[in-house]
C-alpha cells in the first residue's frame, strides 16, 4: 500500500503534523517520513498511480531510470538536512524543510505537466519559508522577490501545459521542442529554476539570506529539480550547450569578488549547474549520465560546503570573508569537512566531482565541441579558485581574525562527516556509483592520462593562487555588494519607472489645475453672458434668444440635408 504511494507525498502531507511533536521526537518523526517515502522507491519503474479528473489523466506516480537517481539523492539530501538541523527548535522551518523536500521528490514522479505544475508551485511555496527563516528584513524582502519569480516560473509552466493540452488533448511530461509556443514557455519555466544567465538573480539574492539549515535544504532541491526537468524534456536541445557554457563561465568572476562566502557558494552552484545544462544540451547517453552523475555528486559536496559555512555562521554569526580567518584551530572538524567538499567540487581524483565531471568533459570531447570543452576546462580552474580555495582558505586560514568559536554542534558534525564520506566513497568506487545512472556506463575515469591532466590543471591553478597570495598581489576581501542580474528588477526598473510614475502624477496635477482654470473661466464667461444685461440676460434678451434658436434650427436642418 505504502509502496504505491508517490514518493514525497507522505513527507509533504506528514509535515503538517510536525508542530504536534515536541523537539527531538519531531526530528525522529521527520526521519520516519523520509524512510517511508524512500520505501516507495522499491515499486520499480513504470506508471503506478493515475487519477482521472475533469477529463485529464493526472499521472501522479511515474518512475523510470531518469527519475530514480534524482529520487535517491533527494531522499539522502533530506535525511542529511534533518540531521544537520537537529539543534533547530523552530518547528516552522522543520515543516518547511520536510514539505519542500517532499514536494520536490513528488515532482520527480509526475508523469504529466499539470501534476508537475502542482508540485512545482508547492516547492516554491514551501521553500519561501526557509528564506523567511533568516528572520531579517533583508530575508523578508528577498523572500518576496523569490516567491514572485518562482510562482512566475510556475505560471509559465501552466501556460505551456494548457496550450499543449489544447492542441494534443494531453500534456505528458516528455520531450518538447522549443520551436513551439508551449515548448518555449515550458523551457523558460525550467530555465528560471535552473538559473539560466540573466534569470539567475533570485539564486544569489535569496539563498544566502536563509538560516544555516535553510540554505542547506535550498541548495539541494529546486535547481536540481530543474535540471531533471530539462533532462526529461529538452535533452539534446543545442542552445542548452551555449547557455550552460555561459553559466559555467560568468559566475566564476562574480564568485571571485564576492565577500559573503555563502553567496560565493551560490555563484559556484550556478557554475556547477552550467556543467549539467551543457551535458543535457549534448543529449548523448554519456552526457545524460554525466548530467545525472554531476547533479548527484553536486548535491552532496555543495550541501557539505553549505553545511560547513552554515556551521561557521551558526558559531560566529557571519560568513563574510573579510571578517573570518584562522578558524581551523577552533573548528578543525568543520574545516576538514569543508576541505573535503572543496576538493570534491574541484574534481580532484578519488573524490566525487572527478568521476562525475569526467563524464561530461569526455562527452564534449567525443562530440568534437572543442571551444565549449575549453570553456569548461577554464571554468574548472575557476571552480578550484572560488570554491576549492577561497571558501576553506578565507574561513579557516588566511589571516588571524581573533574569533575563537566552539566547534560545530555534534549533529552538524555528523551530517558533515556522512556527506564527506559519501563524497570520498563515490570518488573511490565510481563503478558502484555509475550503476545508478540512467544508461549503461562503459567508462573508466581513472586512467593515467585523465588523472595526470586533471592533477596538473588543478595543482598549477592552486599554485597560481599561492603565488598571488604569497607575493601579496591578491587584494583583501572587502565588505561590499556585488551587482548581479537581480539589479535589473531591484534598481534599474524602479529607477526608470519611478520618474515615469512621478511624471504622470505631476502631469495629473497640472492637467487638473488647467481643467479647473478653464472651468472657472467658462463659469465667468457664462455669468457675463447671462447676467448684467448681457445678450442672454432674460430680462432684456428673450427675443434675441428666440432668434438665436431659430438660426440654430436652420443651421441644423442645413447640416442634416448636407450630410444626408
Amino acid at each position: 500500500m505504502i509502496s504505491s504511494m508517490p514518493p514525497g507525498l507522505i513527507m509533504f502531507l506528514g509535515s503538517f503534523l510536525i508542530p504536534l511533536f515536541p523537539h527531538f521526537f519531531r526530528q525522529i518523526y521527520m526521519i520516519l517520513l523520509i524512510v517511508i517515502s524512500a520505501f516507495s522507491l522499491t515499486s520499480g519503474h513504470g506508471t503506478h498511480l493515475v487519477i482521472n479528473s475533469m477529463g485529464i489523466d493526472f499521472i501522479i506516480f511515474h518512475s523510470d531510470n531518469l527519475s530514480f537517481p534524482f529520487a535517491v539523492i533527494f531522499h539522502i539530501a533530506a535525511f542529511l538536512t534533518v540531521i544537520y538541523g537537529i539543534h533547530n527548535r523552530d518547528w516552522k522551518e522543520n515543516v518547511a524543510i520536510t514539505s519542500y523536500a517532499g514536494a520536490a521528490i513528488a515532482a520527480l514522479h509526475a508523469g504529466d505537466l499539470f501534476t508537475l505544475f502542482v508540485w512545482w508551485e508547492a516547492t516554491a511555496l514551501t521553500s519561501v519559508f526557509l528564506i523567511l527563516g533568516g528572520k531579517s528584513l533583508r530575508a523578508y524582502r528577498s523572500a518576496i522577490r523569490y516567491i514572485i519569480i518562482q510562482v512566475g516560473s510556475g505560471m509559465l509552466l501552466l501556460s505551456g501545459a494548457i496550450i499543449l493540452f489544447h492542441t494534443n488533448n494531453e500534456a505528458l511530461f516528455q520531450n518538447f521542442s522549443i520551436d513551439s509556443t508551449s515548448g518555449l514557455l515550458i523551457f523558460l519555466a525550467f530555465g528560471i529554476k535552473a538559473a539560466f544567465p540573466f534569470l539567475n538573480g533570485w539564486l544569489q539574492d535569496s539563498y544566502p539570506e536563509a538560516s544555516e539549515v535553510g540554505t542547506v535544504a535550498l541548495s539541494a532541491f529546486t535547481t536540481k529539480l530543474a535540471i531533471y526537468a530539462l533532462a526529461r524534456s529538452f535533452a539534446g536541445v543545442e542552445i542548452l550547450i551555449l547557455i550552460g557554457a555561459l553559466m559555467t563561465f560568468f559566475p566564476i568572476f562574480f564568485a571571485v569578488i564576492e565577500n559573503d562566502l555563502r553567496r560565493v557558494l551560490t555563484y559556484s552552484l550556478n557554475n556547477q549547474l552550467g556543467f549539467m545544462v551543457v551535458a543535457v544540451g549534448i543529449g548523448s547517453e554519456l552526457a545524460i549520465n554525466g548530467a545525472v552523475a554531476h547533479a548527484f555528486a553536486h548535491i552532496l559536496y555543495k550541501g557539505l560546503l553549505f553545511m560547513s559555512m552554515g556551521a561557521v555562521l551558526y558559531r560566529v554569526g557571519t560568513c563574510k570573508a573579510s571578517e573570518l580567518g584562522g578558524l581551523f584551530k577552533h573548528m578543525p572538524v568543520t574545516a576538514i569537512c569543508s576541505i573535503v567538499g572543496a576538493i570534491s567540487i574541484s574534481a580532484f581524483p578519488l573524490f566525487s566531482g572527478f568521476v562525475a565531471k569526467s563524464l561530461i568533459m569526455s562527452s564534449l570531447g567525443y562530440e568534437g565541441l572543442t571551444f565549449i570543452y575549453f570553456m569548461l576546462l577554464f571554468a574548472s580552474a575557476g571552480v578550484l579558485h572560488h570554491s576549492g580555495i577561497k571558501i576553506p582558505f578565507f574561513a579557516f586560514f588566511a589571516h588571524e581574525s581573533g574569533l575563537k568559536p566552539k566547534e560545530a554542534p555534534l549533529n552538524m558534525i555528523i551530517a558533515m562527516i556522512i556527506s564527506a564520506l559519501l563524497c570520498i566513497l563515490i570518488g573511490v568506487f565510481p563503478s558502484l556509483f555509475y550503476q545508478i545512472l540512467p544508461y549503461e556506463v562503459n567508462y573508466q575515469p581513472y586512467d593515467f592520462s585523465h588523472v595526470v591532466s586533471q592533477l596538473q590543471l588543478l595543482t598549477f591553478a592552486a599554485f597560481a593562487f599561492i603565488c598571488l597570495w604569497h607575493f601579496k598581489i591578491y587584494p583583501p576581501e572587502l565588505n561590499s555588494t556585488v551587482l548581479n542580474s537581480d539589479w535589473f528588477y531591484r534598481k534599474m526598473i524602479p529607477g526608470v519607472f519611478k520618474p515615469v510614475i512621478l511624471g504622470i502624477q505631476n502631469l495629473n496635477v497640472v492637467l487638473t489645475n488647467l481643467m479647473l482654470m478653464i472651468f472657472d473661466n467658462f463659469k465667468k464667461f457664462v455669468n457675463n453672458l447671462m447676467f448684467n444685461n448681457k445678450v442672454f440676460d432674460r430680462e432684456t434678451g428673450f427675443d434675441t434668444l428666440i432668434v438665436v434658436q431659430i438660426f440654430g434650427l436652420i443651421l441644423f436642418i442645413l447640416m442634416f440635408m448636407h450630410f444626408n
Binding site: F254, I257, Y366, H385, Q456, T459, F463, A464
Partner: protein, 74 residues
C-alpha cells in the same frame, strides 16, 4: 632551506607536487580530448594561466560591479 623558510612549508610542498606532476608526464602516454591538450605540460600551463586570468578579470570587475554593502538598502 632558505627558500622553504621564505616561501612557506605548505607552499613549498605544493611546488614540489607541481614538479612531480610535470615529471610524470614523461613516464606515460598522456593524451587529451583534443590535439591541443596533448602539447607538453598543456594542463599545467592552462591551469596556471586560467587562474591568473580569473584573478585579473575579477579585480578589474571590482570597479564595475562592486558597490557599498548597503547599496540595495538605501
Amino acid at each position: 632551506m632558505g627558500f622553504i623558510k621564505n616561501f612557506g612549508k605548505a607552499n613549498s610542498i605544493v611546488l614540489f607536487i607541481c614538479i612531480i606532476l610535470l615529471l610524470l608526464e614523461f613516464t606515460g602516454d598522456r593524451h587529451g580530448e583534443t590535439e591541443l591538450e596533448e602539447l607538453l605540460f598543456f594542463p599545467a600551463i592552462f591551469g596556471f594561466v586560467s587562474c591568473i586570468i580569473i584573478f585579473k578579470v575579477g579585480v578589474a570587475l571590482r570597479s564595475i560591479f562592486m558597490r557599498d554593502e548597503d547599496y540595495y538598502d538605501k
